[in-house]
Homo-oligomer: 432 residues x 2
Amino acid sequence: MLQAALADGTAHRRCVFEVFTRRLPPGRRYGVLAGTGRVLEQLAAFRFGTPELDWLADAHVVDDATLEYLAGYRFTGDVVGYAEGEVFFPQSPVLVVEGTFAEAVLLETLVLSVLNYDSAVASAASRMTSAAVGRPCLEMGARRAHEDAAVAAARAAVVAGFAGTSNLEAGRRYGLATIGTAAHAFTLLHDDEEAAFASQVRSQGAGTTLLVDTYDVRRGVERALAAAGTALGAVRLDSGDLAVQAQEVRAQLDAAGAHDTQIVVTSDLDEYAIAALAVAPVDSYGVGTSLVTGSGAPTCGMVYKLVAREGASGAMEPVAKASRSKTSVGGRKGAARRLGADGRAVEEVLVVGSDDEVARWTRHRHHTTEDGLRALHVPLVVDGEVMPGLTAAEGVRAATARHAASRDELPRGARRLSADEAAVPTVELPLA
Amino acid sequence: MLQAALADGTAHRRCVFEVFTRRLPPGRRYGVLAGTGRVLEQLAAFRFGTPELDWLADAHVVDDATLEYLAGYRFTGDVVGYAEGEVFFPQSPVLVVEGTFAEAVLLETLVLSVLNYDSAVASAASRMTSAAVGRPCLEMGARRAHEDAAVAAARAAVVAGFAGTSNLEAGRRYGLATIGTAAHAFTLLHDDEEAAFASQVRSQGAGTTLLVDTYDVRRGVERALAAAGTALGAVRLDSGDLAVQAQEVRAQLDAAGAHDTQIVVTSDLDEYAIAALAVAPVDSYGVGTSLVTGSGAPTCGMVYKLVAREGASGAMEPVAKASRSKTSVGGRKGAARRLGADGRAVEEVLVVGSDDEVARWTRHRHHTTEDGLRALHVPLVVDGEVMPGLTAAEGVRAATARHAASRDELPRGARRLSADEAAVPTVELPLA
């Protein structure tokens, strides 16, 4: 595409690409945008190096003119989008990329890969933290996702309210709180459970979390208390009927005077299992597989569509594919959430009009709420420069706060787990 | 775990960890091991650098003795495993890692992350290439997976028989065949479809693949033929009822004399959609979302379990968690596939016995078939050195060949898509 467009001159036409999803996963009521900070980190560094250019040349993938273009590639356009952590609905234009065709089309795979995965994880994570009703959720899924995806998953989970992660690399990279417990292998390594617990307490202090289900839970708890006393931080249960076991272990701990010793549960938890444990005496949830695989929806289905481009006359023109099954609305869209008198979301509003009008409306309304419309697009990249505060640990902190506020703004009932339509309808608001 | 084990001396106990899955995804009849080459590439380079060590120190994650151990970390143990591309069943010990506890436990997350994701993709891909019955499948899922997972997915798809990938980075890294077609954006960028097609044919030659469903398929095909003539390489259909459209387009192409122009279909294909198109005049399938998300099973559920370790006496002892719901067989296992008289698999055989006996059996039987038992464990790492031929492009080529042979060896009916039990049972064979 790039080679042909460079040759015919259209590569330099100004273009607007929008990122949106046509539908939410079945039964889901909202999605959570995550990954924007990661997109921006990579966009700022997006270059074609010598190994890549040499391979493209040797494999005859593109011609010399295209290689030359790629060697000098740098995104110099603009990006606006929903703030990371914001909830979204079908058709929500969560990211709008504006630049020449050549500049913008090269970002498609990067943008979609990051947003589709990170948002899938955050969307599942938000349901889990809702179901946990204030009890901490801990991310422990590194082993069930690609090794780098796992780092992104930990970050996305924290955006959606997870309290910490066992992924140390994610902690290092994004300033996340890290946690950890021992595995069964640690107990099995030792000659007996007593030796394993004693060693762990010596190394980590009585505040550590001891895994008590390697052999027999009741005796495991006895040995844990023998090793750490009533100052024991927590015990972890990783198998069996967690609700029943948590009751029994709580009673056993209380009977021994270990009222402050907490109970952490793990073992293929998802949002439904977490909800089912709401009445059990559980203090925190460790979640792995279902989190990092989006709990049944491992990708978001976001697409990156050309919605407007400079025509032969130099004016911006709306464009859209005309097929029946994949309808897309042409033209640049602004975005706002209409809030009711109680401050809760009523509608997702797509602001439509001429390209100039919508662009002006978006610039004017960045970050503001007027007439019950909270504008959703914030500037992310201006003339190729990434705006400050959106990346690394700072970006994650802001996104976590944004998600909490955005989720609180949803209509009552929007957070229930049972299958239903999108929590608010998506409507169009013509500017003219 | 590492810190406590270093402090109490057990970190230096010799250990055997096995990687296996307790069950296949619901209805699946076999799994496909992929990612071994990637594990070995990363294992050879697995070190803790200054940024990681500084962060671990600053965040007080581990003590000074542990930091010192990590700074000098290098895996010096042994790994055997199923050849990459081999099919596997519940309990198949696809990888066996032997080393000190400290050495081996640090590899858990790396090994599982890679194998769980890559094998999930390859397991789905194998069903797709089976369903395609010889027609090429093309990997196009980069935008629906984490940006680095996407590269691994392309590699895993090729291991399981995919003919090529649109992921250029995967092509560069692993020597995979790369393919590509234009997106709707390329057509929409131009003033009309004629201009877009003419530009693409000028740039790529008549052998290119033109996307004909941006506006109207029939007129799209007319314009494609007008631009490229009957030498047109292929047309791509990406929406609508693909079976009906493929019939219509084939008739239209044939009527125009374009008998050699192929039809590529894409649009949320999975193994079932591919099977449903078996009688349609389709020449190749482009598969995205369902491939890179494992077609409903986005992770394999493989675990990394300590099965034997040096005891206080210095002898190796089998160990296993004793919980009811997660039964694991303790002790090192050898592995073989029992073949019937027709050369087809009959049983997955776990060879059990004392640690020495099994280790000796495994060493003796590497790569051989005797008495109807095809030994499955091959040496991957010896004294910390990765065996040659297993990584990069060479490793992928070998894995692709291995998968084709291994799948051909399955019992008749094992490749059907409908839900059923594992294609062969897993049994134990005591050596004594």
